[in-house]
Symmetry: C3
Subunit: 251 residues, 3 copies
């Protein structure tokens, strides 16, 4: 039971996806006592798993599992593998390590729609939860994508069987996807997006508080949010429940 339970507010169901960019096993065990129940997915960001010991990665995944949290490696690692023709080895290793999902993306490389479809289906067939990502890591390349392009790709991915589509926001939340150079949401684009896709299947990467607030006020307390810093999970949960100034009395 939460402290001050008589003040707690329910919230709609919805995903909180956290970025792990190198947390340590004992720390995670301790951390989840406080935050575990508020987390749905943990992403081992970009290629970070590949510079950590196998045993440590396995241990971390199994700790997350104790709290029912699903884990997956960042899309950049898929891209590194796929571009080397090692997609099979990649899926095998994900399975061995205990990852529940994989992320299919083309943030740093080109990927034909055909390959994209193949990768999604293949990973699904192997029993993985599939999260795809829409957006480019490079500011210049990402800028070339219209909101129409993004919408088309989101719907394509969902039709191919992707469980969730992530809207790229990177760790910085600036100059990328739906965010301008100051990290503010481009509201007109978001408006169009909201009308054209199933928002329950979309995870918005929203590393910064102002972004989390805006998404919650627009889509409600259960909006799917990702790339949450590990030490912002409690803050996000209070935002979702109207227990922080920014959403107090507004949710």
């Amino acid at each position: 039971m939460n402290a001050f339970s008589f003040l707690s507010k329910d919230r709609d169901e919805g995903i909180t996806m956290v970025l792990d960019k190198g947390l340590s096993p004992n720390f995670i065990m301790d951390y989840l006592r406080v935050c575990g129940k508020h987390i749905d997915f943990v992403k081992f960001g970009w290629g970070t798993s590949a510079v950590q010991d196998r045993d440590v990665v396995k241990e971390k995944i199994s700790i997350y599992k104790e709290y029912g949290i699903k884990t997956y490696p960042g899309g950049t690692l898929f891209e590194a593998a796929f571009s080397k023709g090692m997609f099979d080895e990649f899926l095998e290793e994900c399975k061995d390590l205990g990852f529940d999902g994989v992320e299919i993306s083309n943030g740093s490389m080109d990927l034909s729609l055909e390959d994209r479809k193949y990768a999604i289906k293949r990973a699904k067939d192997e029993g993985f939860i599939v999260l795809t990502e829409v957006g480019k890591k490079s500011v210049e390349k990402d800028r070339e994508l219209t909101i129409g392009d993004r919408i088309k790709l989101i719907n394509f991915d969902l039709e191919c069987g992707s469980n969730y589509v992530i809207i790229e926001g990177r760790e910085s939340g600036k100059c990328i996807g739906l965010f301008d150079e100051k990290g503010n949401i481009k509201k007109d684009e978001l408006e169009i997006l909201a009308k054209s896709v199933d928002i329950k299947k979309v995870i918005f990467e929203a590393p910064n508080k102002n972004q989390q607030v805006e998404f919650i006020l627009k889509f409600g307390s259960g909006v799917n949010l990702g790339n949450i810093a590990y030490d912002e999970v409690i803050s996000l949960e209070t935002l979702r429940r109207g227990l922080r100034g920014d959403t107090f009395g507004k949710i």
Copy 2:
């Protein structure tokens, strides 16, 4: 004894208040071995306590207590309770959990002076240390407060029996209270404030280093500072003692 004790400088007595926005129990225990002696108050920020397990909150409070650190929940939680007519339940729960203080604020709601006075007195009577806060969470609403308004409220609170009055700075330290949009201190307003209130009873929320430096250079090494990030406590202590470039030779 500190390392390099022959280089350590004394500093005036004064409060360091740290923001806990979801730290974990074992982490805190370990952390206090390094930082415990430099911390006076820990605030469980805004409504964060209400999304953490009762048992965990209790455990955290009791760990802080071992180091003589006083704890209290953020003012937003008081506001949630008071606006629901559950102030009694709130105080009861604070006592049960082991909090030493409460924060009375009106950052997110209206609170008449009469109610403010009542809340302060009531909490004092129940044996709590009372910290009040002056300022609004919303940039727009906070901007409406003149420095005269703030001063009047600070002195009102102290006359009502408040132990300390906190000047709102939020976690960001920008566009709020005494800080402009870049997080710089409005020096003319600070000057007026300094002449009109008992500075020993004021805690300045000062999350950013440049703010900590300015307050220390203006009011001395013992100035009361709050909303210090947990991982900035050692840095702040070096600033207070002239052991970091920014205050080296100036204190």
Copy 3:
């Protein structure tokens, strides 16, 4: 063995120096299981050692040692000691605590070339690894240094026997040394520097990701980088190995 070892890329040898500004012993022990193999030096930033218990500092140093990591206190502490005429006591205490190196700097005070040379030689004679630093803590004073001044001092230090010369970047990485007010590298100055000194003997303080990326793309995966935040070590390692979008396919 790393997870996804078939995707890992080798990188050139080169130093990663991490900033410890108050980490706790158990945390470090846990942390090094993930990050230990990627760290060469840990600096106990500026005067932070002098506000931590002797026993704790000793314990921390010995934990780092288990992973082959060299430690040293920040230059500000040397300056505090030297300006008080307590250089001998300083070296003695460094030895007692177990530090492997010392940093000789003049960031916050004046230091004649003669004294600089003496301090370097003296510390070397006592068996310490000597790191010197070029740059001023104050933005105004640092601005007075031309790139020519910096180059001259770097080469002077190396001739005096310094093992490495650090280019000041502070914790912020802005408005200092080679960085402009936005934290971007002054490329023309870097170009001149690169031609005039032995880059293998230089450690660039580069706290921000964009800086790390630029140095890696210019000097290769083994460039010596310092003032890395403890929680950015894994990220930096992925940048060095082309496993993050910013350097993917470019290294």
